[in-house]
């Protein structure tokens, strides 16, 4: 996904003189050719994340369309107040593109993990969040985000599904178990594991790579009584949105995702997927327990 971002962003800089890229050393080498061609619009400020976001705000104030890129914890968490004030409060916008996701670089430890990034962005108003599930989804999402005029967060990961799924942000039914069946909504790269987990269960599976704004109309159309969210970032990030959308209906919600605890373990991204119960077996355990509870006779 990162390479697709680099390639598409390099093209966008050449195509649209309104675009600018702000970096804080991360991925700077990959953008060397673009920087050579557009030295005044590819700006590497060094390891200075507060300045990176402030510069983006200033560029936007002059009418440019800044894209800001770094590791997720440094992009979203380190200079959160700059996102809040230098972009939103100034009534200007930018496209933020992160790599690293929740635990892509698990061996690097907690400092490089960012399961809370989408939750933090979700505290802001009016942001679009894209979480592609395959490198083949990245280019169109980036182009859409840059062509728009609002703020957007594009969350890239080394984890991905076997194939891309085209979507305009609406919930797309990947597996239909019929009316009234439990609905599982998978966001981005967790789709394949979710499909495996419920392969022999009567569960409808819908996919989106745009959790914000969440397709609440699609959710209301597809949801029966049981709703299962599977997200590749902090568990429960979209619970509020789903609960609000279904507030007028009796329903049960299971929200699966990355746990809050610092596991203090290294290993691989796949290890962390398993430890957080987001592999097919872990998801199946949680989902089966949730659906069995629905079948218990009332006391």
């Amino acid at each position: 996904m990162r390479q697709t971002f680099v390639d598409t962003m390099t093209d966008l800089l050449a195509e649209d003189p309104r675009t600018a890229l702000v970096l804080a050393d991360i991925s700077a080498a990959a953008f060397t050719p673009a920087a050579a061609r557009h030295p005044e619009r590819v700006l590497n400020v060094g390891i200075r994340e507060q300045l990176m976001m402030g510069v983006a705000g200033g560029l936007a104030l002059t009418g440019l369309r800044p894209v800001v890129h770094s590791y997720a914890p440094f992009l979203v968490e380190r200079a959160y107040e700059q996102i809040k004030l230098d972009l939103d409060h100034q009534a200007v916008s930018a496209v933020l593109v992160s790599v690293g996701a929740s635990y892509d670089r698990a061996a690097a430890g907690r400092t490089h993990l960012s399961p809370a990034d989408v939750s933090l962005i979700d505290t802001l108003h009016g942001w679009t969040v894209h979480v592609p599930g395959h490198p083949g989804e990245v280019s169109a999402l980036l182009r859409d985000a840059v062509a728009g005029d609002g703020s957007a967060y594009l969350r890239l990961s080394i984890l991905h599904n076997d194939r891309p799924h085209g979507t305009d942000g609406a919930l797309t039914v990947v597996r239909d178990a019929g009316p009234g069946a439990p609905l599982l909504v998978a966001v981005g790269p967790v789709l394949d594991a979710a499909l495996d987990a419920v392969a022999d269960l009567g569960v409808t599976v819908a996919y989106t790579n745009r959790p914000r704004p969440f397709d609440t109309a699609g959710l209301r159309k597809l949801a029966g009584t049981e709703v299962i969210l599977v997200e590749p970032y902090l568990a429960g990030t979209s619970s509020r949105v789903v609960s609000d959308a279904l507030a007028d209906r009796p329903h049960r919600l299971l929200a699966l995702g990355v746990g809050h605890a610092d596991l203090r373990r290294y290993g691989s991204a796949e290890d962390h997927t398993r430890w957080h119960g987001l592999d097919a077996a872990g998801l199946r355990r949680s989902i089966t327990r949730f659906l069995e509870a629905a079948l218990q006779p009332a006391r």
């Binding site: 060094g46 507060q50 402030g54 510069v55 200033g58 560029l59 104030l61 009418g63 004030l85």
Partner: protein, 263 residues
């Protein structure tokens, strides 16, 4: 006496002082030049708007420490008028120390950017003028500020954005306080602007000696160590400020440290 600066300490906000419930001096015409130990002289055209904005409240010394440099900027330096607030080719003035609003609003009113009646009920529920400025509410205000340490980064980005679009005439001025320099974000901006020779940027540091741990060697040294040109002047001396504010060499970023003290 209209002002009581000696008792005001270094209050960091300007308009939180409750309005007196009785015995207040009603807003009146511009005060005559004061005698010691009265309030510092306020540039003539600013006095009326400032009195109207003050509405009987007491202002802290920080209000008066910034008015002279604000006036010199708007009266002699900045290429911006009420008619050109959206002109891409205008100079940009970014007030980073957003609590210095009283003088800012008074100067904007004196120069016709905002109607005088906006000065009434500042901070009230229907007022556009808060204790910190909001760029979406006040014509001519380039940034919303208040949380310290944001203006210089935004100023660097603004200067870069203008340059990338071939707008080489405008300068970007960012006004900070010496205590505001405590925020590390400023030093990210100072180092980067110096290293890249961001020549269209001027920082103005109003130094009223309010940084808790001070700046040994002077605030300007934090800039010059990073390749900026710097001038340190008496922040009350309009001609000296004018000279300093036009002292950039068009090759490097420039800082003017305006020292005000003894109030």
């Amino acid at each position: 006496m209209r002002f009581n600066l000696q008792a005001s300490g270094m209050t960091m906000t300007t308009a939180n002082t409750p309005r007196p419930t009785g015995g207040a001096t009603p807003p009146g015409p511009a005060p005559a030049l004061p005698t010691v130990p009265g309030p510092p002289a306020v540039p003539g055209p600013v006095a009326g708007p400032l009195e109207r904005l003050r509405a009987g409240r007491e202002f802290g010394a920080n209000v008066y420490s910034t008015i002279d440099v604000l006036w010199v900027l708007y009266d002699r330096i900045l290429r911006i008028t009420p008619e050109t607030t959206d002109d891409p080719d205008r100079d940009r003035f970014l007030l980073s120390k957003g609590h210095a609003v009283a003088g800012y609003y008074a100067v904007l009113a004196a120069k016709g950017f905002i109607p005088p009646d906006w000065l009434d009920d500042q901070g009230g529920p229907d007022s556009r003028l808060g204790d910190h400025p909001d760029r979406t509410l006040v014509p001519g205000v380039e940034i919303g500020s208040g949380s310290l340490g944001h203006g210089l980064g935004l100023g660097v980005g603004t200067a870069l954005g203008l340059r990338a679009q071939g707008l080489l005439t405008p300068r970007v001025y960012v006004l900070l306080g010496d205590a505001e320099l405590d925020e590390g974000s400023n030093h990210e901006a100072i180092a980067y602007a110096g290293a890249t020779g961001l020549a269209s940027l001027t920082a103005v540091v109003v130094d009223n000696h309010s940084a808790t741990h001070g700046w040994p060697g002077g605030a300007a040294t934090r800039f010059t160590a990073n390749g900026w040109t710097a001038v340190t002047v008496d922040g009350r001396d309009h001609d000296a400020l004018h000279h300093a504010l036009t002292g950039h060499d068009n090759h490097r970023p420039h800082v003017v440290v305006a020292v005000v003290g003894g109030e």
